[in-house]
């Protein structure tokens, strides 16, 4: 009983925290994104969740960052409103390491909202003419230092993903629950083969059915995310295709169960197919997706979403989300088992 309450409490927490906690401030783009050497240029930074006008005039500092030793500081920053910041840079005469052009990252440091970064914000190109041999001193005059860190409870800001980062607490746990439930289903199928008791079969089928439900939910939440970040809900990405096929396997399992006149025969052959199907999930989910290009994180060299993208705030919601959804899955499966048990008793099967 206690774990049902725990699951509800955790999921309410996940819904509230996952939906209400704000994102950290970030920079969406810089305009203009091109500059030439020796030019004095006013770059406008368009922020997200920023509070540029809430800081004192001297409070916001902006850099164009080449690497740890070389960075250009803005001579003047003006907040036009809360989301637009105009920073004036005097571009140096030449570039580090004798380069002709380089992408510079933008760093904006806000005393309250912390520092935010936009990779490859401005491309700086060497103007034609004689290039001085010694590097312009502007690169090292005011290095990046004493960045503020935002201490409040907030989720990381990421370009392209933006607010949809909250889907991490719904889309990702679905696959954890699916694997737990399908694993439990295979476990009871194995037990059924060793000891053909109807209870084992009921459990195997209930776990598989609930796992299927979570698979469909995972596919749907994935489609919402794909619509937002990839441009359309279904792009025939290999990950989407293979997941759909994996779900087809379990639909076939349910058709197989119902194809026999004798209960015992159906249960036994379905148990065999369940084990076979679970084993063929491994090539479907781990071997095949590696053979094709995919947009999904974690496939074909894309960074896996998880290790470096989860910060501590996200972990504080993500781990309870996995536990909460798993307990909900077990609860749903339990209801199915109990219903089936009563049904079998009423029909005189058990």
């Amino acid at each position: 009983m206690w774990w049902k309450i725990l699951s509800v409490v955790l999921l309410i927490y996940v819904l509230l925290a996952g939906m209400l906690v704000p994102l950290k401030s970030g920079i969406q783009r810089a305009e203009p994104a091109y500059a030439r050497t020796k030019q004095e240029i006013a770059v406008r930074f368009y922020g997200y969740n920023t509070m540029f006008s809430k800081a004192a005039a001297s409070g916001i500092r902006t850099w164009l960052y080449y690497d740890e030793t070389y960075a250009l500081a803005a001579s003047r920053c003006t907040a036009l409103n809360d989301t637009i910041l105009e920073a004036v840079f005097r571009m140096p005469a030449n570039l580090p390491e004798g380069r002709q052009s380089a992408y510079l990252n933008a760093i904006i440091d806000h005393p309250a909202a912390g520092a935010s970064l936009l990779p490859a914000a401005v491309e700086l190109t060497q103007d034609s003419g004689i290039v001085a041999a010694t590097l312009d001193s502007a690169w090292t005059a005011r290095p990046v230092h004493q960045l503020h860190v935002q201490t409040g409870f907030s989720f990381p800001y990421q370009n392209v993903i933006y607010e949809s980062i909250r889907n991490t607490y719904f889309h990702v746990p679905m696959w954890f629950v699916l694997l737990f439930l399908f694993g439990a289903s295979v476990w009871y199928s194995l037990r059924y083969l060793r000891q053909p008791a109807p209870e084992n079969d009921r459990r195997a089928s209930a776990y598989a059915g609930t796992g299927l439900l979570f698979g469909v939910l995972g596919l749907l939440t994935g489609m919402i995310w794909a619509n937002y970040t990839w441009g359309k809900p279904w792009s025939n990405d290999i990950k989407q295709l293979m997941t759909a096929v994996a779900l087809l396997i379990y639909l076939a399992y349910f058709i197989l169960r119902r194809s026999f006149d004798e209960y015992e025969k159906g249960a036994r052959l379905a148990a065999v197919y369940n084990i076979f199907a679970f084993a063929s999930l491994i090539p479907l989910l781990y071997i095949v997706p590696r053979m094709f290009a995919s947009l999904h994180p974690g496939a074909t060299g894309n960074p896996a979403f998880g290790s470096q993208d989860l910060d501590n705030t996200m972990r504080a919601v993500f781990y309870p989300a996995i536990l909460g959804w798993t307990l909900l899955g077990l609860w749903l499966a339990n209801l199915r088992i109990r219903y089936q048990r009563l049904f079998d008793k009423a029909m005189g099967l058990d």
Binding site: L248, R268, L269, P283, I287
Partner: protein, 218 residues
């Protein structure tokens, strides 16, 4: 696994096939008809389409060739085999026999198909290896699924829906390897795909050995 009874069991499969020649002829005719249907429906077959259609023809032909391997013998005779041989030997003999059957079928299909729709294969050695690996993979998966499906009333439908998701990784790898043999894609690391295929085969055959006794025992 009993090696001594493997030879008689294999011999029995060949004998059965020889006595029911119409079944084998039916499958061969099926392949030929499909080749002609494909050709008539799409007169000019470009190499990428050639590749995909060839494997689809083989897929359907294989399902139809293997599905009979359990239904052709009556329940009483199955009971007789049950007393004579152990299940692992029996399924191994059937898989071996079906691999040979599918290999012959795919070579025949390749011959007729290239006669009618042209032969874009640039690396015959690799293509031959892909045909061999394909027959092996199809045979393992389909023989096992056929043994499950044969117990049900609607075995033809079940055969299709149970085997398609399971066969998909094998089929995708085969199509990819055969596009290398057709020089449709440049892939110097295609041996990795061959190993993938063998690994999938190894997983499947292990499962077949473990699970088949539970299917057979009625």
């Amino acid at each position: 696994m009993n090696w001594k009874s493997l030879i008689p069991l294999l011999h029995k499969e060949f004998l059965l096939e020889f006595r029911q020649r119409y079944a084998l002829s039916g499958i061969v005719l099926y392949v030929f008809s499909m080749v002609f249907v494909v050709y008539i429906a799409s007169i000019r077959v470009a190499p990428p389409v050639w590749n995909v259609l060839f494997w689809l023809i083989l897929l359907f032909a294989s399902i139809n060739a293997v599905v009979k391997s359990f239904v052709q013998e009556s329940g009483a005779r199955q009971l007789y085999y049950y007393q004579l041989a152990d299940p692992a030997t029996l399924i191994f003999a059937k898989i071996l026999y079906n691999s040979l059957l599918l290999l012959v079928l795919s070579v025949l299909a390749y011959g007729v198909y290239s006669l009618v729709a042209g032969n874009p294969v640039k690396d015959p050695g690799l293509f031959g290896l892909v045909l061999l690996l394909g027959s092996l993979g199809f045979s393992i998966a389909f023989t096992f699924i056929a043994s499950i499906a044969s117990k049900a009333n609607n075995s033809a439908t079940l055969m299709a829906i149970l085997s398609f998701p399971v066969i998909l990784p094998i089929l995708l790898t085969l199509v990819r390897l055969s596009s290398v043999a057709l020089r449709l894609i440049q892939d110097t690391a295609y041996t990795r795909d061959i190993w993938n295929l063998l690994a999938i085969d190894a997983i499947l055959i292990t499962l077949v050995f473990v699970l088949f006794p539970y299917i057979w025992k009625d």
